[in-house]
């Protein structure tokens, strides 16, 4: 192991803010994950690891969670960190963090018996709860800075203060964000690297050039288009890894509007599944990265099963189904995800596939805001999306298929409008079931039924390879990869 050096990474797009408690965008998480910390981290098998909490325990009945905090931790401005900050953070995040709010709805109360202990009392057992403590899900924010202020306009948002291994130095808007080593980090010897530069390069091709010319050492997943990945990894001293996304397990699918139009017909939806050459897309558009999913749950997420109905590429079958339902050739609109060329090509490929079985597709276009607006207001026939699973079907999957999550105005729920009261009961049961084996049974049943119904067309378990110079060591050690991995990374000279 060696200390020192500087690491240049790409961050794309430029984060709106680095105050992780207020903003949880992917780029914010990636940068601010070095500044802020959660109580726990998760390894690539999604097992909890110490972070701000050095020890933790869950009572037998699953109703009480106790965390023992590290001692001698201080904020970047020198103020000491204590359990008070954790208590404050739970309040802070209740106001500002939707996902946290969801997980904490199962919590009865939180208390801090002493400066280093936190005890959480649950309303009911909630299996996935232990998966909700990493920096992105529950960043701990400094009480001494935020208490009693208007959080959104607090001037310190511009210069975030955390407990993490790196401190904020400077943000040249449109250009780069500079973090530097936290010399007083509570784990001796960490971190190893002196300076981190997160570079903002808006154009994907330029990002590839940046890596090629050696200006940048690390390309996080998705920073360059997939076509460039192979070329870049063939260069000397370049390594790549698909690890570091286990916690998120990004799962891509196409929402099919279950409410109206041809997509309201199950046979049509099944036909769509058969008509799509998903392997082709994986190989051509995604350059072989990723896995064709079998259903709503990612193979990386807990409680996955492949014992479900299969939908291989079979245009003839698709045509049969369409004939059977008497599809009249009404054109359908397809809303692609405005996240770059890969997604655009993907939509084009789907359009072409569906066209071949007689479904006329018109690609709608919209930028991010337009996409949000249309999906959130159900103004679509088919729409691309991908969502994180957060390690547990109860956290990241259920929200997309239960009736209680049909809420106009947000694109992160049951946007397709799938209603199946029986399923809803099973989902509910599975979430609060303390026994993992029983949970598996319940989730298997759920997956089988849902795959039969095809409420959405699952496309791909996305894999975002991280590309980096081979002399950067220990870069990816956790289930959220680069988002908190730089604590342990070091550079070999």
């Amino acid at each position: 192991q060696q200390d020192g050096g500087r690491l240049d990474l790409i961050v794309q797009p430029e984060p709106p803010s680095l105050m992780l408690g207020l903003v949880q965008n992917a780029p914010t998480q990636m940068v601010a994950g070095q500044i802020y910390e959660g109580l726990l981290r998760y390894n690539t098998d999604l097992e909890p690891q110490p972070s701000l909490a050095k020890e933790w325990s869950i009572s037998e009945d699953g109703m009480t969670y106790t965390f023992i905090l590290n001692e001698g931790v201080s904020w970047h401005d020198g103020e000491p960190f204590s359990s008070e900050d954790v208590i404050f953070s739970t309040k802070f995040l209740q106001d500002n963090h939707a996902r946290f709010r969801g997980a904490f709805s199962h919590v009865e109360s939180v208390e801090a018996p002493d400066a280093n202990t936190i005890v959480i009392h649950m309303k009911e057992p909630y299996g996935p709860f232990i998966n909700a403590f990493e920096a992105g899900s529950m960043p701990i924010v400094p009480k001494h800075i935020y208490e009693g202020t208007d959080y959104a306009t607090n001037e310190m948002n511009a210069t975030p203060i955390g407990t993490g291994p790196y401190e904020f130095v400077e943000w040249e808007k449109g250009s780069y964000i500079h973090l530097t080593k936290n010399e007083d980090y509570y784990i001796d010897g960490l971190p190893h690297i002196d300076d981190l530069y997160y570079r903002v390069v808006p154009d994907a091709a330029s990002r590839a050039v940046a890596f090629e010319t050696g200006e940048v050492d690390v390309l996080p997943g998705g920073a360059v288009e997939n076509w460039d990945v192979a070329r870049l990894t063939e260069m000397d001293n370049v390594c790549s890894s698909s690890k570091g996304w286990e916690f998120f397990a990004p799962h891509a699918w196409m929402w099919l509007n279950n409410r109206e139009g041809p997509t309201a017909d199950k046979r049509f939806r099944q036909a769509v599944m058969f008509a799509m050459d998903r392997e082709f897309v994986k190989d051509v558009v995604w350059n072989g990265f990723g896995t064709v999913p079998t259903g709503p749950v990612s193979s990386k997420t807990n409680f996955y099963t492949d014992d479900v109905p299969q939908y291989p590429y079979d245009p003839e079958k698709a045509k049969e189904l369409l004939d059977e339902m008497g599809y009249d050739g009404t054109p359908v609109r397809l809303l692609p995800l405005p996240y770059g060329e890969t997604w655009q090509r993907w939509a084009e490929a789907v359009k072409q596939n569906l066209g071949e079985v007689g479904i006329e597709v018109e690609i709608d276009s919209a930028d991010v805001a337009g996409w949000n607006e249309k999906t959130a207001n159900w103004d679509y026939d088919m729409a691309f999306t991908y969502l994180y699973q957060y390690g547990d079907p109860a956290l990241g999957v259920a929200r997309n298929y239960v009736e209680s999550q049909i809420q106009k105005g947000s694109p992160w729920n049951n946007v397709e409008g799938y209603v199946n009261p029986e399923m809803d009961k099973l989902w509910e049961q599975a979430a609060v079931e303390p026994d993992n084996e029983k949970r598996q049974e319940l989730y298997t049943e759920i997956q089988q039924q849902i795959v039969e119904d095809v409420p959405v067309a699952w496309l791909l378990e996305i894999e975002f390879p991280t590309i980096y110079r081979c002399n950067v060591k220990n870069l990816i050690t956790t289930g959220i990869g680069l988002n908190d991995g730089l604590r342990d990374a070091w550079i070999e000279e």
Binding site: N25, R99, S175, D203, V368, N372
Partner: protein, 325 residues
């Protein structure tokens, strides 16, 4: 005194124009689907209604439209461009941070294109119909027809990737610790490719215009007078033809210099140049209303500033302006 008066009246008109532009833009921008709260929530990958409602309230989007408009106009009148909730910073500050980069880029491109364009135009007109002329006009036409972004891509490919001579993107070497002259040189190096690609098109424009204008002025009577005096051709070209031929070029240049500020979006995007064009484009995608409006206003103000500067230059060159009642 007359000049001061004229400028004052221009400024007054400009202020009204700007206010009108601000209002028009306000309508335009708000007509776009989606809003910043939804985008911000959307990027978080998870959001509930409460979060979006909170954000809307925080951004003032829960107010009726006319209240928002009135508040915005009120701010503009007091020269307050508002606050970017997305970026957590006053818009003016945000723009001022980015403006220098844009100005450096566009002004460099502007001067390169103007000086080179005029020089080539003069050279071509001096040898009209000959090979040099054909060569220059042909090349200019080619530049004129080449899409800017394509030229940029090709330039990066050749000079940055293949030859490795120049940095392919960015404003300066990040974290180099350069100061003073070293930093200036560093920025200069980064500036070359974007400024050149941005300048090529305009160079072609100025070249064509200068050439045409030179040829036209050369036909005028006073040139014959100059020749009748026995002046040599070089002097005639410089003193009599060029100065007169520059007048339309100056007009055009002034018009374009202003437009350049807001028009460098493509170059800034391809070269990762941290200017306001890109800020505008990114803010647009994020529906960061105040920032887009701010950038628009500032770019429009730049157009006006450059127009006024052009007028002043014009007055310097052409004594007739300002005297003519």
């Amino acid at each position: 005194m007359a000049i001061a008066g004229a400028i004052l009246s221009r400024l007054l008109k400009a202020a009204i124009t700007l206010l009108a532009i601000a209002i028009l833009n306000f309508f335009l921008v708000h007509a776009a689907p989606g809003d910043p709260a939804a985008v911000l929530a959307g990027e978080a990958g998870a959001a509930d209604e409460q979060m979006i409602a909170d954000l809307r309230a925080q951004f003032g989007l829960d107010q009726p439209f006319y209240v928002q408009l009135a508040r915005y106009v009120g701010n503009i009148v007091t020269l307050d461009l508002g606050y970017s909730f997305r970026q957590g910073q006053p818009v003016l500050e945000l723009i001022l941070e980015r403006l220098p980069a844009t100005l450096i880029l566009t002004l460099t491109a502007f001067w390169i294109s103007l000086v080179a364009g005029v020089a080539l135009g003069v050279a071509a007109s001096a040898r009209v119909g000959k090979f040099t002329d054909t060569l220059i006009t042909g090349t200019a036409l080619l530049f004129y027809a080449t899409p800017l972004y394509w030229a940029a891509l090709m330039a990066v490919l050749v000079f940055s990737v293949q030859l490795g001579w120049l940095p392919g993107f960015g404003y300066e070497t990040v974290g180099s610790g350069f100061g003073g002259l070293a930093r200036a040189l560093d920025i200069l190096k980064h500036l070359i490719l974007p400024a050149l690609t941005l300048g090529l098109f305009f160079m072609a424009v100025y070249m064509r215009m200068t050439r045409a204008s030179m040829l036209e002025v050369a036909q005028q009577d006073f040139v014959k007078t100059a020749r009748a005096k026995g002046l040599n051709p070089a002097t005639i070209r410089r003193r009599h033809i060029l100065r007169n031929a520059l007048l339309p070029v100056v007009t055009l240049a002034g018009l374009q210099a202003g437009q350049l500020v807001g028009g460098a979006v493509l170059t800034e995007t391809v070269f990762a140049w941290p200017g306001i064009g890109r800020l505008m484009f990114e803010s647009l995608a994020a529906r960061d209303y105040n920032t887009i409006l701010g950038v628009f206003l500032v770019s429009a103000a730049m157009v006006i500033v450059f127009n006024i500067l052009t007028d002043l230059v014009y007055r310097l060159i052409d004594p007739r302006i300002g005297h003519k009642a």
